[in-house]
Amino acid sequence: MGPMERPAIAVEGLVKKFGAVEALKGIDFEVPPATIFGLLGPNGAGKTTAIRILATILRPDAGRAEVLGYDVARNPQAVRHLIGLAGQNAAVDPNLTGRENLRLIGKLAQLESKVTKRRAEELLARFDLVAAGDRPIKTYSGGMRRRLDVAAALVGRPPVIFLDEPTTGLDIQSRTELWAVIRELVAEGSTVLLTTQYLEEADQLADRIAVVNEGMVVANDTTAALKSKLGDSVIEVTLDSEQEAARAQGLLARLVKARPDREGSRVHLSTPDAPKVLTQVLRALDANGMPAAGLTVREPSLDDVFLALTGRHVGTAAEAAEAESQKPGRGKGPAPLSQAAEAIDEIIEDLELGDVAALDEMDEWPMVFGGAGSSEDKSLDRVLSELPYKAGSGEIVENLHEVAEAALVHYRMGAGNHIDLSPLAGYLTLEQRFGRISAGVSADQAAALLMGAAHANASGILKAPRRPNGESKDFARGAVEILLEGISETDSRIRR
């Protein structure tokens, strides 16, 4: 951004309180024009509140927010002509068709009806919804619905676009497609402000990232600079014996540009380039007749970002703020999950600490998805694609234990806890039909649920019965309860 150029979005000292809770404690950031800016933070960090203020839905208690030079509090109607909003809260009418929804938004965005019609057709084509254009939204799958939601934000060709967790709950393919669209928008000159809980998403898309925690910006930098602060990925290889590990350490020290440490039968490598080094490691071990018995890759996660920036783990106090900002009556929120949160954290921590011994002792893991290290191409993607999931039918629940197993197998195959479980989160939300596990399930929580389920399955707690279709909703509830039970059971087992 040149010195003479004005930012497209400017936020200064923004404060928002909900009762006694300060959701925003004075945040500042600027977004240069025609760039993607990521607000990265956990649930309850204040991201949605910031977006809502910028979209003129909430009024700030203090501070200033401007969109293309217009103050959101003093000139909200002007701002509304310049923005498009999509994401977890901005919705479409389920009873209208895709086309009708887009036309309605166009009309309300004060476009002429000729322009509205043309834009609706353009957007249906762009988001691959032409065939579904005359179907009511309630017949759409989760991914289609989200695409239409984003399309609706673009009807008025807004120069500034707010996307509030646009890909939460989407499967990998839909998410990748949406990312491509977002990049196109910016190439065409739009400015995008995006919130996400996923470091990977911010990394993929954003030019700059502001990390938000408990209503404050704790870092604001280019994506590359932020990542370089985070340190390296850690690859951990477990071998059959200490002797072999020692051999492997020597071997790897020669072959790989990274210094391995050894701890018993495990060898650790720190590297900024995990994918490349991982390949080298596996080839080297294989060539020397030392197949890895276990493999873990840990990449910097959102929690690492916080740890690095604040010296603390992701806070939970802020969750209260978000709950407050959701206002009473806006849905129940994932209450059972929050109760299970502690147990989930424990499990994640144990898994992160590499305490897989407990897992290894469970010998009954079905090998249908390939055992440890047996087939690299069995990606989680493929595992999922093999599951007979039908959007919205609730059928996946019957296969939850299989998903859990798949996740665990994948974990043991070495993808580590950072593997992309957002599609699983999508599955778990079941198009949000669960009622009890709502859209708020993060990838990590989903991962933990699945891990917990896997544990529980192994210990015979999770007896996922097979049922005919039709009773899916009650059954889903039951399944979730069994899952949660499994988690707490697993938790106490691990602690013992």
């Binding site: 150029e5 003129t56 909003l85 901005a90 009418d93 009511p136 000159g189």
Partner: protein
């Protein structure tokens, strides 16, 4: 100054509010609400089944035991059924509004450069259209079971218009309830206990004079009762010494009073709803 960034240039100057903008927006929202009603016809059907059950129940099952001095019970009953139908039907307004709030649709509307009044005006207008349809059908049912206008066609039409006006007033009340509650199921649960006593402790089905003394004061003067009596007076003539124009004026006063209080509250609620 060097050139501003491209997307700023691409923006046409912020359009001034058009004089008919609010009307246009309201009609767009109303049309959307009517389309929704058309797509979920079950709702409308259930709205209609209930009054038909009431007609059958009171006309044929209980009607024989109810004596109203000076008129046949079916003529007494049908004006009350109009009122009962639109009062219970207004729960749909609360439910629809709460659903829009919960789904986040209102959040999107509020980020659009549309008239601030359009969502409420559109909703209440659509409900008025729905009630027009419902009231016409109930009139048909009424004539089928033996209801006959005792005054004249103009007074009957005036009675129907009063029913529709009252329904419009109620939809503002229940739009506010929907916004305040924010959840469709709760909206229904919250509204029913308020609505039921207003309908049953009223002159809709039986004369207030037949009720215990302690109830009569409330039952005579509450808006549902006043409007039911006014509609009845317009359709079958005055009863028990009450003058038709007094009743109609009282009903209009209630309507005006409720609108004056509820519209600002509803608008305020809408602006703060997230």
């Amino acid at each position: 100054m060097t050139a501003l960034h491209p997307s700023i240039e691409a923006v046409t100057p912020i359009p001034k509010g058009r004089p008919l903008g609010a009307l246009r927006d309201s009609l767009a929202v109303a049309r959307r609400n009517l389309t929704s009603i058309r797509r979920v016809p079950q709702l409308l059907v259930f709205t209609l089944i209930q009054p038909v059950i009431f007609v059958v129940l009171f006309r044929y099952v209980m009607g024989g035991a109810i004596r109203v001095p000076g008129v046949s019970y079916v003529n007494y009953l049908i004006p009350g059924i109009f009122i009962q139908t639109i009062v219970f039907g207004s729960l749909q307004t609360a439910i629809g509004m709460a659903a829009d709030l919960k789904s986040g649709l209102l959040e999107r509307f509020r980020s659009l450069p549309m008239a601030r009044s359009a969502v409420l005006a559109g909703r209440t207008t659509a409900d008025l259209a729905r009630n027009f349809f419902v009231v016409s059908l109930i009139a048909g049912v009424g004539f089928l079971v033996g209801f006959r206008v005792q005054t004249n066609a103009w007074r009957f039409i005036a009675g129907l218009l009063l029913v529709l006006l009252f329904s419009y007033v109620l939809s503002w009340v229940f739009a506010t309830v929907g916004l305040a509650v924010g959840d469709p199921e709760s909206a229904q649960a919250a509204a029913f206990p308020v609505v039921a006593p207003l309908v049953f402790a009223s002159s809709a089905f039986v004369p207030v004079a037949s009720m215990p003394d302690w109830l009569q004061g409330f039952a005579t003067h509450q808006p549902v009762s006043v409007t039911a009596s006014a509609v009845r007076a317009l359709m079958i003539g005055p009863m028990g010494g009450e003058d038709t124009s007094t009743l109609v004026l009282r009903s209009l006063a209630w309507c005006a009073g409720i609108l004056i209080v509820m519209v600002p509250i509803a608008v305020r609620r809408y602006r703060r709803a997230v």
